[in-house]
Assembly symmetry: C2
Homo-oligomer: 199 residues x 2
């Protein structure tokens, strides 16, 4: 008979289902929970249930929120004439960390990927077009990832939006700040050269 503790194995299995968590890490995390006071496990369990039950998509930008409108859409100080289109809620968090953007967002919840059977209808494109029709939006910033699917999504949307007379822009390509030219791939370097600015 092997060393077998059903409740511990179940907790390890739950940790292991998380992305990027392997068997050994899952075991370490589960044992950490066992070592801590019971309040710890209780608070963690409550946080899981609360997060899942209270968080849904913002009625306007489709980002995550526990209210009707997310804190960005509800903020009267934000510039509603600029919409930054991203694929995932985590991209909104990434832009907010820069503290450089005062417009609003629109989360597509994915990118167009015919191989995975994801077309525009599976994304929050309809909701984006609805926002464009009844407001004075001046610029759409395409901020999908610089991947094949991200590019395809950006160019698909830009073909739909341009006829409405709205300016469509794309994030700049170039060398990452703090990076090393030696490690930049040739496509990035070519784009950085192409998009060079006078100093």
């Amino acid at each position: 008979m092997a060393y077998n503790i059903a409740p511990l194995n179940e907790l390890i299995a739950q940790f292991e289902r998380l992305p990027g968590i392997g068997k050994k890490t899952a075991q370490r995390l589960a044992l950490n929970i066992i070592e801590q006071p019971p309040e710890r496990a209780k608070r963690f369990a409550e946080a899981l249930i609360n997060a899942k039950s209270k968080i849904h998509f913002c009625k306007c930008c489709q980002s995550l929120t526990d209210m009707e409108l997310c804190s960005i859409c509800a903020d009267s100080q934000r510039d509603r004439s600029v919409i930054c289109v991203v694929s995932e809620p985590k991209d909104v968090m990434a832009f907010e960390r820069t503290r450089e953007f005062n417009g609003t967002y629109h989360v597509l919840h994915g990118v167009i990927s015919p191989l995975d059977g994801i077309g525009p209808d599976q994304l929050r494109v309809k909701e984006l077009m609805a926002r464009l029709s009844d407001s004075n939006v001046k610029e759409i910033i395409m901020a999908t990832n610089p991947t094949v699917e991200g590019e395809a999504t950006a160019s698909y949307l830009s073909r739909m939006i341009k006829p409405l007379g709205i300016k469509v822009t794309r994030l700049a390509y170039g060398i990452p700040v703090g990076g090393d030219l030696e490690y930049a791939d040739e496509f990035t370097l070519a784009r950085a050269l192409e998009g060079r600015n006078e100093i």
Copy 2:
């Protein structure tokens, strides 16, 4: 007003309190929970509560179990005359994975560390001595970590146990299987030389 979702932040904070989980990983794990069906969060929450409430120390070997005796101590096939002394429950799991050991274990729940104020009284030493007094134990294998504290704990316990006429052994030191001599430190290599076996 920043992008702020209280239930999400709380879940991120809970993940971040786990060992080896940084801010970015915590965010990724929390967002994964949000993306999954609600049953997922519910099962995870239940696993946390169950693991913490049902698991306690085995009455005999002080390892983790959800019964009175752990599955190893309860197994009549295991050899009770050999006790492998380890510092943590995870060490029991490590030995069990080898499938090479058919004796029993004793978990100290720590090592002697005067700097951290941990002496023998803070460890499960009393319980080990009790096991030795009323059974026919023939060998104690000291399997604490090969660190200063692990060594000190092993030699402290061996000084206590030897007078009882019980054989005390220590895990072999040497080069790890599959390792590279070039990366072995001089102490390990010296011990491997010292403990060489005829082939």
